[in-house]
């Protein structure tokens, strides 16, 4: 082979590589531009829209955050956000269902809703959602899809971009160190605790999602074989798998608050009981809840957060858009803002809400990353390492099965 030809050959190879790269860059730029174009079009359409954001209104802290976010979005994008405070998202689903039943394909009363878990599953199954849409949101690229698998699988239901991640939740417990000087490290020790301090331990009744999560946590800790829990529930082995759970609860109830005859409606009510001293242990899904409550005067400053040594259940909570919303663009703009590093940082501030972020630190720019890492911890908040392992939620079908079985056993 003569040297000239080799050079020619090499040059050709390089040319081809260059062309290929240029082509890919062009493609990428093109798609990005196309995406950017699409997003610009969405932002344009969103300007002037009013969206009804249906979200749980039982926490002042969260309501204040939503108000802050709404003000920013209105100033920056001209989208007006109305926070519709609800107690139970089921009510909203009911309404959307009624609308679908009446053939109302546009002009729905809900534009954006805060949901997760079995609610998402129900809406997805009945075709009540708009989407897939979260892939269109520019800030989605910061979402941690590697270390936080629950952003892709909501209670094991594939998300498939039908909802946009908003924050993380992890089951934590709170104890009043003024009244007791030790706390249980797992469910079995919780039973011992209850026996030592009868009437001072309780959990919310399913189907409250706090109660159901407590039951799931107990089941995850006590089940001998955890694999059936990550598959759809099967009639055959349900009793066998859940036997240790019922044995535990049967043993616990007589030592519980009100001897297990009455239950609380959820973590907020338990927080009040904790403050009164009616119970000594409470629970929450927000690791920053205790610090927030202390800062707000809801709890005394002797409250401390703790987790069980084997890890506690965690999941992601999302926002979703109903199929018949008339303001889908505005809803998407708001959902995108909620995922932005700016909004996520504000949300994670202990003084504001303290809700953990869904974003991946390594995907952020250095300035944002530093800001996250510099967040102070509240006096009753555990650090990320102290929070320990996050256990994955069981399959969504277990929720209904467990709730029904619990109600059958304990609703006399």
């Amino acid at each position: 082979m003569c040297p000239g030809k080799r050079v020619y050959h090499q040059q050709g190879k390089m040319m081809r590589m260059l062309l290929k790269t240029l082509f890919l860059i062009a493609l990428f730029l093109g798609s990005v531009t196309a995406q950017a174009d699409e997003w610009d079009a969405i932002k344009e359409k969103a300007r002037g829209q009013m969206i009804y954001f249906n979200a749980w209104g039982g926490s002042d802290v969260i309501n204040d955050y939503i108000r802050w976010a709404a003000n920013v979005v209105e100033a920056r994008y001209g989208v007006m956000v109305k926070h519709v405070k609800i107690t139970d998202i089921g009510d909203v689903i009911s309404r959307i269902l009624a609308e679908k039943s009446a053939g109302r394909k546009t002009g729905g009363s809900v534009d954006l809703m805060w949901i997760n878990g079995e609610n998402f599953k129900a809406m997805k199954k009945h075709g009540l959602l708009f989407g897939p849409f979260s892939q269109k949101l520019p800030n989605y690229r910061f979402v941690d899809t590697v270390n936080k698998p629950t952003v892709l699988f909501d209670f094991t239901t594939p998300v498939e971009h039908m909802e946009a991640p908003w924050g993380m939740a992890q089951l934590v417990f709170m104890v009043d160190t003024n009244r007791v000087n030790w706390h249980p490290a797992d469910m079995k020790q919780l039973l011992l605790f209850a026996k030592k301090f009868p009437g001072r331990v309780t959990y919310p009744a399913p189907p409250s999602f706090y109660g159901t999560t407590f039951i799931k946590q107990a089941l995850l800790e006590l089940a001998t074989d955890k694999t059936p829990l990550y598959q759809p529930v099967a009639e055959g082995n349900f009793d066998q798998v859940t036997a240790p759970l019922w044995a535990f609860l049967d043993a616990l109830h007589p030592f519980m608050w009100r001897k297990g005859n009455t239950f609380t409606s959820g973590a907020p009510e338990m927080k009040q009981l904790l403050d009164d001293g009616e119970i000594y242990i409470s629970l929450s899904f927000n690791p920053n809840d205790a610090s927030n409550a202390i800062a707000n005067g809801e709890l005394p400053d002797s409250i401390r957060t703790y987790v069980h040594k084997g890890g506690t259940i965690g999941n992601t909570h999302f926002v979703a858009i109903p199929f018949n919303s008339d303001a889908k663009e505005g809803a998407m703009v708001f959902a995108d803002f909620l995922m932005s590093p700016e909004a996520q940082l504000q949300k994670a501030k202990p003084a504001i809400w303290g809700d953990p972020t869904v974003l991946a630190m390594d995907k952020l720019n250095p300035g944002d990353r530093k800001a996250f890492e510099a967040l102070p911890l509240g006096i009753a908040t555990l650090s990320a390492s102290e929070l320990g392992q996050v256990l994955l939620e069981p399959d969504a079908s277990w929720v209904d099965a467990l709730e029904k079985a619990w109600q059958k056993r304990y609703h006399r």
Binding site: R95, R104, N119, R258, T264, L273, E278, H411
Partner: protein, 573 residues
């Protein structure tokens, strides 16, 4: 005989009853049918198109169903019977004594306190960490932490029953006072006592038997309410399992959409319970009337008064006192920063929650007031129209069919709200009328109308027609006479009925939730939503706001006539 000539304009008055009836019946009938259809399994949006008894079968096999049913019946029927018995006892034993005067003066404010605010106050008073125990601890009880007692939200539903009784007795007393004004009480007491009977015996044998038929419908309304109440049950009712109405409400909100059918079946069951209880009471009434004829005239003139008097007077103190204390505890909590058990008063105070609350409440308050004022105004206009039409018909000698009318007026109060409101929501959604402000006002109007009718009717009818007759001879325009003679004379009762209509609208919970499609928060929906567990301080602020709003309108209703007629002595009733 001279024929009374009715002008064309006057005949237009006939439209009023038609519009009013159309308002009521259309909502109730369509809502009921829609709910019944769903209870049989027909709800296309979730793919349920097969008519079957399946939802009913599932209803009866729900875990805890039996217990729910029992609690509902005990607290519902128990509360209604106890309220009636207490009312009768109060009249028979405490009529016109010192305690009675206290009750009378407190009656209007007692009625103006909305149910939710009262229930929240009760919760803050009577729970193990409530004010009563803080008063007694640690001094008398030695408690450093609240005892593990089931004082509110008890499984038997007794605290629910107590709250219902405390709220229903003032209502029954009011209805009784109105009914008794048509009986010569003083004369009957004089005759009875001159024949040797103690006053309480005269009440028992002469007056109460005449009173009961007149308040029968009000009593049935109390019964229907007690069996189907949701907002009070959410606050002080049992939780595991809850009452049937609460459970149905939860099913309507359940993410599993199949539960809507279950909810419809449950709601229809509640309707059947109400109808059945009313039927049972009618039968009991007939039976008792027969059996008691002998007792009425057996001549027993004495009655040991000591214990009944103590119970009755004590009960008045409890009714008035509880409301007062509930108010106080709400006020205290609203200004609290930290208040640990067992301190009697908060250790630190703060205005923060009022500031925060008022800021957050701006929208709900605006909604509450606008809906309330509109519904009350429309209610008064419609009722006045119907009553004027009645006057016109009486002048022509036409019968007005009052007995049937009365049942129709009471219908929205007798049919449980939960039995038809969801059905109406589905129908409204069909026409895209849900979440529409006029639909919401209309749904409130449905419940405002009966109360306005009941409060305005007797007084309107007792208006001396001769004023109008003379006015017509002086100035020949009926419209002018109406505006310048009849309305001013009736100003005070009109404003009072307006205030009552307004407070009924403020207190509505389920209609706002269902009809408003979540677009309209009112003070009441916010307060009930927060009451289940939220920060007591903000709940107290909301509850007080829910309470103060109608009170302010009542105050206006009191002061405006006083000012307007400040130089007219005979108008100062």
């Amino acid at each position: 005989m001279q024929r009374v000539i009715s002008s064309k304009k006057a005949r237009r008055l006939g439209l009023f009853p038609v519009i009013t009836l159309a308002c009521f019946l259309s909502a109730i009938v369509s809502g009921l049918i829609s709910t019944w259809v769903q209870s049989l399994g027909y709800l296309p949006s979730i793919g349920a198109t097969r008519i079957s008894w399946d939802p009913w079968i599932r209803l009866f096999s729900q875990p805890g169903f039996g217990s729910s049913l029992k609690t509902t019946l005990v607290s519902g029927i128990g509360a209604a019977l106890l309220a009636l018995a207490s009312t009768f006892l109060l009249f028979a034993v405490s009529y016109h004594n010192r305690f009675w005067k206290m009750l009378n003066q407190a009656l209007a404010p007692l009625l103006a306190i909305p149910h939710a605010a009262f229930a929240i106050g009760f919760l803050f008073l009577a729970s193990p960490s409530g004010w009563f125990l803080r008063l007694l601890s640690p001094g008398l009880t030695g408690f450093d932490v609240p005892p593990d007692w089931s004082m509110v939200k008890d499984t038997a539903g007794l605290s629910l029953m107590l709250v219902l009784v405390l709220k229903e007795v003032p209502f029954l007393v009011l209805m009784s006072l109105s009914a008794l004004s048509r009986i010569d009480v003083a004369g009957s007491l004089a005759v009875g006592r001159s024949l040797g009977y103690q006053a309480v015996q005269v009440w028992g044998r002469i007056l109460l038997p005449q009173l009961y038929p007149k308040i029968r419908l009000a009593f049935f309304a109390v019964l229907a309410y007690s069996l189907s109440v949701v907002d009070i049950a959410l606050i002080v009712g049992p939780t595991a399992p809850p009452t049937l109405a609460t459970q149905v409400f939860r099913w309507f909100n359940d993410p599993d959409l199949e539960h809507r059918l279950l909810g419809s079946a449950g709601a229809t069951l509640i309707l059947l319970l109400v109808v059945g209880s009313i039927g049972l009471l009618v039968i009991l009434e007939i039976g008792a009337a027969r059996l008691m004829r002998g007792w009425l005239v057996n001549g027993q003139r004495r009655f040991p008064m000591f214990l009944p008097a103590v119970i009755s007077n004590f009960f008045i103190l409890v009714v008035v006192g509880f409301s007062l204390l509930a108010l106080l505890v709400l006020v205290t909590w609203s200004f609290t920063w930290r208040w640990r058990f067992p301190d009697f008063l908060p250790e630190t105070w703060s205005l923060r929650f009022w500031q925060k609350g008022l800021m957050q409440m701006a929208d709900p308050i605006r909604n509450t007031i606008s809906i309330g004022l509109t519904a009350a105004f429309l209610g008064v206009v419609l009722v006045v129209g119907c009553l004027e039409n009645e006057v016109r018909m009486q002048k022509q000698g036409l019968s007005t069919g009052t007995a049937g009318m009365l049942w129709l007026i009471y219908l929205p109060l007798l049919v449980p709200q939960i039995a038809f409101l969801f059905g109406v929501q589905v129908i409204l959604a069909l026409f895209r009328l849900d979440g529409f402000w006029p639909s919401l006002v209309w749904s409130h109007l449905l419940f405002v109308l009966p109360y306005v009718f009941l409060s305005l009717g007797p007084i309107y009818r007792s208006y001396d027609q001769r004023f109008t007759d003379i006015g017509l001879t002086l100035c020949h325009s009926p419209w002018r006479v109406f505006l310048r003679v009849k309305l001013p004379i009736l100003l005070r009762p009109l404003l009072f009925s307006f205030a009552i209509g307004f407070s009924v609208s403020v207190a509505q919970y389920l209609p706002t939730l269902f009809m408003g499609a979540g677009r309209f928060d009112t003070i009441t929906t916010e307060a009930v939503n927060l009451a289940s567990g939220s920060d007591r301080r903000i709940v107290a602020v909301y509850a007080l706001s829910q309470l103060l709003t109608p009170l302010l309108v009542f105050l206006a209703a009191l002061l405006i006539p006083r000012f307007y007629f400040r130089q007219r002595k005979s108008m100062q009733v």
